[in-house]
Every structure is written in structure tokens, then in C-alpha cells.
């Protein structure tokens, strides 16, 4: 897999709805098209909310996975 270099890293751990999506939306605006935002979160709601937000706004969900510590990691590329 290609090396993904994050332009912006977001720590959303501990934040609950609506903050993960709100913070992601704010962060995406700060990177150029093609720019990468990498985030970690603990709210189980992100599993549904982040893909929905990406699909609706046309941004690219490059990766999303959960680690052994139950923390969600996701990578979004600005369209």
C-alpha cells in the first residue's frame, strides 16, 4: 500500500456526536484538494457517520479500521 503522509492529524478520541464529523469537516477545509486528514476516534458512531459524510460530501475515505484497543483510525483525502 502506498505511504500515506498526513497533512493534518486529528485526535478525536473521547469526542461524541456531532463533534467527530464537525471537526473532520473543519479540518478538510484546511487542506488542499488531494490533501490527507488522518484521525483517531473512540465514538462508535463514527463507523457509520464518517463513511456517510465522505460519500455525501464527495471526499475519499481512503481507510477506516479499528485497532485492538477499540480506537477507530480513518484516513480521508479531500476531493
Amino acid at each position: 500500500m502506498e505511504q500515506i503522509i498526513a497533512d493534518v492529524t486529528l485526535d478525536l478520541e473521547g469526542l461524541m456526536c456531532p463533534m467527530p464529523v464537525v471537526k473532520l469537516a473543519q479540518a478538510i477545509k484546511t487542506v488542499d484538494p488531494g490533501g490527507i486528514v488522518v484521525a483517531t476516534a473512540t465514538d462508535p458512531g463514527v463507523l457509520a457517520d464518517i463513511p456517510s459524510w465522505c460519500k455525501s460530501t464527495g471526499n475519499d475515505l481512503v481507510d477506516m479500521h479499528r485497532d485492538d484497543a477499540k480506537v477507530f483510525h480513518f484516513t480521508v483525502r479531500r476531493a
Binding site: L15, M16, C17, P18, M19, V21, V22, W53
Partner: protein
Amino acid sequence: MTAAVTDPLIAGHTETEESTPEAEKMVLIACSDEMDKAWPVLILGTTGAAYGMDVTIFFTFWGLNLLKKPDAGITGDNWKQKMLAVFNRGSTQHLKLSKMNFAGMGPKMMGDLAKQYNVSSVPELLTLAQDMGVTLWPCGMTMELMGLKTEDLIDGLPDPAGAGSAVALMKESSCNLFI
């Protein structure tokens, strides 16, 4: 579809900062000042803004209380309006629950739960909504009825509007909700 900002009927409405001229509109009618109604209004509003939508929240009747300054005091010109103010302290900081209010213990416990689980509070969400450029529209008729003046409400609000403007906006909006 015409651009909302040039329409005199909805002149008080300005585009949400995060939206583009072609952005979908969302209108939320906030008719209640209870914590369990104010909360979803502001969560949906800020999330709509996060989706790049042009969001307007129209605060009417009891919902207008949410826009009162915390230190507005006894508002109103006549005794009926002043009594309304005594029983409706308003602002996002003194909210009741629609059930299980328990004379104020309910909201306090709900606030504690929110802190514990890191859920943003209603005052925080209102500030966030303003920062995200969500239009917070006060209902002019409610202001008159309850004797609320511009200086009794929080800063940064557009001119008050009425049902005529709200309906015009809702006709252009793809998502209208009454809470």
C-alpha cells in the same frame, strides 16, 4: 432555483459560511426551550453545516428563549410580559427537561452525564453553530408578543423574521424539520 440572499422576502437570511451558493439548504424550526429539544436542534444544525449545507435555525415561541442573553434579566414592557420573563429565564444555560425535570435535578444530572461521556453541551453547541455560520433567526412576532428586544438576545443575530420568510426559505430547502 434563485439565490436566497437576493430575495427580499428572506433578506435576513445569509448563506452559511461553510456552504457554496449551490449548497443544499436545511431549515430547523426550534419551537421549544427544553434541553431535550434544544440539543437535537443544535446537533442537527451543526452536523448539517459540517455537510456543507446552508443551515438556518428559526427560533420561535419558546424556542426564542434559547437566544436570550444569560443576564437579560426581567424583560418586557407590561406586567404580563415581565411575568413571562420571570418564569422563562431563558438562554441555553438554564434549561428544563420536558420530562424528569425533578425541579432542576434532572437537567443537572443530564449535564453531568454529558460531561462524563464528553457530549457537547447546549451552550457549547450554540456557540459552535454561530462559529460555523449557521443562521440563527429570531422570530419577530414572538419578540413582540413576549416583549423581547434585540438587546435582550445574544449578539450577532440577523434581523428578526416571520413565518412568511420562513416558508419562503423552507420551499427552497431540501430538509425542513420542526422540533
